[in-house]
Symmetry: C2
Subunit: 327 residues, 2 copies
């Protein structure tokens, strides 16, 4: 049993998201709170820009409620930069008791799981959860110096620039988190940092199967299932992996990485912000509009490290699922 069913499902009181220029040109452009026209966002470095984006997003989520930073019991956040500096400096500036997370691109969903546990367990009234990524900070940290302009294969994904944040509460109006399925780290031996969808697909499929087994639900119980950032090819792998188990995923299965960009962006989006901004912007909006009643999100993370890759290790993946019901 990897799934927790919440007795008093935590409410998503408010959500916010900010994205970069390219994300703002994509098909979901109408769903974001703010679209930046500059990757530096007035800062001297991309890392400082990412921190500013995360902090502003967290503050924006708070502003949508009547709450102040002093009302928030715990902040849970993480990002892709080494030592999660965007989250650390945001936590310093917000001065909320802070628990730092590293779940690679699944960090937002890891935060939703633990935030829900804190609320449902009676340990907190309000929890602020957030995650960020930035194309340029990720690119130079994980791949090549950005200025080098290395050509990419079609299986590559574009790290989403942006941040998402939610305010979770014990009471109030809004969508509710009913279940959380914590994933295991899965490793099918892929080692290509330009094909992260393949690295994460087995973990996403395993978490989805486990969620169905633990809850007795079938995938068609959900109006929409999304994975975090598998991209075009990773999404196809999940469909195939489930077919092997005689489960047919219908049109209700999508991937945030496929949804976010126009089709000229390799295999789609990736990064902590991919599932964060699509969930906080597009999906919660559609839930609040009554267009989606039952939603299952599976945050996916590729546990990529330049250090372990250079030492001959493969890239394992992880997926955490969260079920959300319209309020």
């Amino acid at each position: 049993m990897q799934t927790v069913a919440f007795c008093n499902p935590p409410v998503i009181l408010a959500a916010a998201c900010i994205v970069g220029p390219r994300e703002g040109e994509g098909p979901l452009q109408g769903f974001f709170d703010k679209v930046l026209d500059d990757m530096y966002y007035g800062e001297k470095t991309w890392e400082k820009a990412e921190q500013k984006i995360l902090e502003e997003t967290m503050r924006l989520a708070l502003q949508k409620t009547s709450l102040k930073t002093e009302d928030i019991d715990f902040m849970l956040a993480g990002d892709l930069t080494n030592q999660i500096i965007a989250a650390n400096f945001t936590a310093r500036n917000l001065a909320i008791p802070f628990l730092g997370l590293y779940g690679a691109c699944a960090t937002m969903y890891e935060g939703l799981v633990l935030g829900s546990v804190l609320i449902d367990g009676g340990f907190a009234r309000y929890v602020l959860v957030g995650a960020s990524s930035h194309y340029a900070t990720a690119e130079r940290q994980f791949r090549f110096p950005t200025e080098q302009g290395v050509q990419k294969p079609l299986s590559a994904q574009q790290t989403v620039t942006g941040a998402g944040a939610v305010v979770l509460a014990a009471r109030g109006q809004g969508p509710r988190i009913t279940h959380a399925t914590v994933g295991k780290v899965m490793d099918f031996g892929t080692g290509d940092a330009s094909d992260m969808g393949a690295a994460m697909a087995p973990a996403a499929a395993a978490t989805l199967l486990q969620h169905c087994q633990d809850t007795g639900r079938r995938p068609d119980a959900y109006d929409l299932i999304v994975t975090g950032d598998l991209g075009l090819y990773g999404r196809e792998l999940v469909i195939k992996l489930l077919e092997q188990r005689e489960i047919k995923l219908l049109d209700n299965y999508q991937d945030c990485g496929v949804l976010i960009f126009n089709r000229d962006t390799y295999a789609g989006g990736s990064g902590c912000a991919c599932s964060a901004v699509v969930t906080c912007g597009y999906i919660l909006n559609r839930i609040n509009q009554g267009e989606i009643k039952n939603f299952l999100g599976i945050g996916t993370g590729a546990l990529l490290s330049t250090c372990s890759c250079l030492q001959g290790e493969s890239i394992p993946g992880i997926g955490h699922a969260v079920a959300i019901e319209a309020g």
Copy 2:
């Protein structure tokens, strides 16, 4: 209120720790489960050695109970390597649902906080918590290439090589975690990676004061208070900061970084493993022997990043406190 009081205090069913050669020569040598005689531990790289140490420590903690990996509901772990690779690969090999943490050197205590929340909230029966660090992986990642042999100032600390792990349970015999105080990120503007005690002392002092305020306890309510890895000078700063608030810390206040090494090791130990092995080895042993009845541990972390330091940022700190009572 940053403090959670557990209604059904989680039990520390078992603990394990493994340390490197230098830690094994220190004053606590009799309290560790295993002392390595080689920093590589039979592996080709220090990073692989650290992962092996963490995995073996987690398995050892499990072996001390009658539990198997399948019995464990969640694993919480982290370390200092970029993208917490020691924890990720350990989670892959143990195949336990995994939540990755980054709390710098406070990671073990962050894990104890969240592990206790999962148990006390009724979300898990058994949680495995662990953290590791390795002198050589930390040195080359955060400071200088190890082979360069850069001379260090006396305020520098030695990253502890080793790992600690505990099995937390809802029932059973053993010491119990009664309270947890989640810290805020504090920043007094220090920027010296060779004086981490100064970076963390304000956070440790703030968490201790907050814990006392929230629980109505005074520091002398505890037989022993330890901070995680402030070292000689950081410990003195905490004593001074509390004196300013007219609280006198007595002989019952120690620091894991001061306890672990012989006095020829700069200002003492640091790293995730510092508080982890001193707590899992020395302190839990003394609690189980009846020598300590009430214990308060404050895991401390310096949110150091080479990237943010090179971009002119200071080094903020954090401290998470956990109160443990003899079983």
